[in-house]
Subunit: 216 residues, 2 copies
DNA sequence: TTATATTTTTAGACAAGCCTAAAAATTTAA
DNA sequence: TTAAATTTTTAGGCTTGTCTAAAAATATAA
């Protein structure tokens, strides 16, 4: 239906749209590690196919069709990640690259059966919600630890950075999905955060606090 | 490691090599539904990469490396077919196209874990042997029904034609893997074959007898 | 063994998706 | 509000993998 490149562009635009309604050429180029001129080329093609709204120099947004396609790719990605962790016993920091390939397998029937096989999971191993077969899912209502009040208490429920380096660090510190933590102190000088978890104090940097999400 | 096109060429050459040592340009073109000139182009590239032995006008054969790559693709294809049938409950005539896409997922670790998850199956849903992680597997020692003697008795163990049309026909006639049959008569005029199965007589055409394999 | 048919290769072209370098538009700053 | 900086687009080119048409090699038949 859509080429590999097209799917990757739609996914990137979808992801960037979470932050700002209109997405710029340079943002897409950075996300896909490609050049702005290549992005412009592709944007013309996607607009032609009515997958994005695009006016020269004005940035882009997904059309309804484009969004549907993007959500479907995300569904496939997250279901495969769940499969790799829950059925094949991979660790949460090992699955991203594989799922990046598997998300492009096109059969809808396959994905729906996989979904059923696993018992219709609602979150992938990183806490991200999995869209159902209709494309419905509720966005996580999570906050980065760096943005909550002192003495706030919550459950670790997601990450913003999916790199293995970050996930391995969290694993080592036992900062995994489901853990209950309390924010004890935020050092104003460098925004280092002191947490309490399992009755022990734990110090994390501003960067880590920014990328670790909790449900209050 | 290898492009989609390269993998498909290697697989086609491997398949055609089963029948004749040296494979011709036209045979490959037919197998891949492409043109002879496109095949020539690709053969030059594969020879360059030392995956095939190729001399102009003389046909090709796989090098040891090329064969290793081809067998690996076949391993992936057959394991995914097994997964689709045994875990996701697809029918044996529904899985070929999906596996055709899935066989190109590159991670070796993924395939080895999938293999383990399913208990190291040795045959796919069509009776074809699944190479192990070292690429070892014994070729089926099967005969088409059209080639056995009268009164020969054996177990249906494989097919030569993997098209859904053929598989659906077999399913309807209950001519499935594992069934015990006896060849009662071969009509010399048109090579129609009369089988006995489950104490009932069954008539199959020359074409069906040619594509249905039994272990004696 | 020569003519004909078939197979294979070459030549030249095209689409997709990427690139660099330069031009144009937009934004920011003086 | 004009100049400078930044962003985006255009122009032209490259690679991969495909195609058609024509030429060359090989196989077949008279």
């Amino acid at each position: 239906m859509y080429t590999l490149a097209e799917e990757n562009y739609l996914k990137a635009i979808y992801k960037l749209s979470m932050v700002a309604k209109n997405v710029s050429t340079n943002q897409i180029a950075a996300e896909l590690a490609t050049k702005a001129s290549s992005v412009t080329d592709m944007l013309r093609k996607l607009a032609e196919k009515l997958l994005i709204n695009y006016t020269r120099y004005q940035g882009v947004s997904l059309t309804q069709t484009g969004e549907k396609v993007a959500v479907n790719i995300i569904r496939r990605h997250r279901l495969w990640e769940y499969f790799l962790v829950e059925k094949l016993n991979f660790k949460w920091d090992e699955v991203h690259e594989m799922a990046e390939e598997m998300e492009h397998i096109s059969s809808t029937e396959l994905i729906d059966r996989l979904d059923e096989f696993m018992g219709f999971p609602t979150r992938d191993p990183h806490g991200d919600p999995i869209p159902d077969s209709q494309g419905n899912f509720k966005q996580n209502d999570l906050k980065p630890i760096s943005a909550v009040d002192i003495n706030a208490c919550g459950i670790i429920s997601g990450v913003r950075d999916h790199s293995s380096a970050f996930l391995q660090y969290l694993e080592k510190k036992q900062l995994t999905i489901g853990k209950k933590i309390t924010v004890k102190e935020i050092i104003t000088y460098d925004n280092t955060v002191i947490l309490q978890m399992d009755n022990k104090d734990l110090q994390i940097s501003r960067d880590v606090a920014n990328n670790l999400l909790i449900a209050l």
